[in-house]
């Protein structure tokens, strides 16, 4: 006998699944790269020294790999999950193709690839998997991120 999929019982907007949205552009600036690098305690001169970067493999200042987490984008697709009292970042999966460089204009696209529920010993968890693609001004994909957010009921 097939077990019921707990996802079927969750109220969310199924129409956004798999639909790609433009979520804006971002100018990679020396200031934001420096602020991000300092906040995470980075000292790599490729992020912080124009001189060192000029002689480095890219010829210009680059951003640390996870700089994308400091990029403010427009609100992406919202699956409007009606469940739980609290949301957490459960996991991130990043594929890095080339660094973001100072001076780049990065365009981002986002889609909700999946929403699913899991019921275990600690109750039900609802996951939303969001995929964001970052493209530079040359039309090349510089990185892709799949980020999974979980909602749960803290009163459980």
């Amino acid at each position: 006998m097939l077990e019921a999929d707990p996802t079927d019982a969750i109220d969310f907007d199924r129409s956004v699944i798999g639909v790609s949205y433009d979520v804006g552009t971002h100018e990679v600036t020396e200031q934001q790269v420096a602020e991000f690098a300092r906040a995470i305690g980075e000292t790599n001169p490729l992020y912080l020294s124009t001189e060192a970067a000029k002689n480095g493999p890219h010829g210009v200042l680059i951003a640390p790999p996870t700089y994308y987490t400091s990029i403010r984008l427009q609100a992406g697709p919202d699956p409007k999950i009606v469940f739980g009292t609290m949301g957490f970042n459960a996991s991130q999966h990043c594929e890095f193709y080339e660094p973001m460089c100072v001076g780049d204009t990065i365009r981002a696209k986002e889609q909700i690839s999946r929403v699913f529920a899991k019921t275990g010993r600690t109750g039900t968890l609802v996951f939303a998997v969001r995929q964001t693609t970052y493209v530079n001004q040359h039309g090349r994909i510089v990185m892709m991120v799949e980020s999974s957010n979980v909602r749960r009921d803290m009163g459980q």
């Binding site: 934001q32 995470i40 305690g41 640390p64 987490t69 403010r72 970042n89």
Partner: protein
């Protein structure tokens, strides 16, 4: 900066741990550049209302420490290709974090020197805050 080469590593090779002790000032700087208004990252009061003892770090901030471990190890000619992490436990300013990496496989199949790693962050109590896997591409000696 020194350079590690593909020929230098093999299964079981351990990266020198990167120790991070994030401060409240760094957390505030991180949330400012990110421009977040999520209470548990910016206000002790809001964090306590959610059951924490005080502000916690965004998972993304701890993930950056693992990226730093890997890029420092990969050196100027190495590349971080993939990083995949699960957030398992919260991190707070003042925690002492050991960021670790262990080589689990190597592969040259598609013409690149790929190194697969298990990575994790352990706090001062031996608890795993983050756990995941990574792929780093290293230069060869020839």
């Amino acid at each position: 900066m020194s350079q590690v080469y593909f020929e230098d590593v093999d299964l079981g090779y351990e990266l020198a741990p990167l120790i991070k002790e994030p401060t409240r000032e760094q957390l505030d700087a991180f949330t400012k550049v990110w421009d977040t208004s999520t209470g548990r990252f910016i206000s002790d009061e809001a964090a306590r209302a959610e059951g924490f003892t005080g502000v916690i770090l965004p998972g993304n901030m701890s993930m950056a420490f693992l990226a730093q471990l890997l890029t420092e190890w990969a050196g100027p000619s190495g590349k971080l290709r993939r990083l995949e992490v699960n957030f398992r436990r919260w991190v707070q300013p003042g925690d002492r974090l050991a960021c670790m990496g262990l080589v689990t496989d190597t592969d040259t199949n598609d013409g690149e020197n790929k190194v697969m790693l298990d990575v994790h962050i352990e706090n001062q109590n031996g608890e795993r805050a983050l756990q995941g896997t990574a792929i780093v591409v290293l230069p060869g000696k020839r």
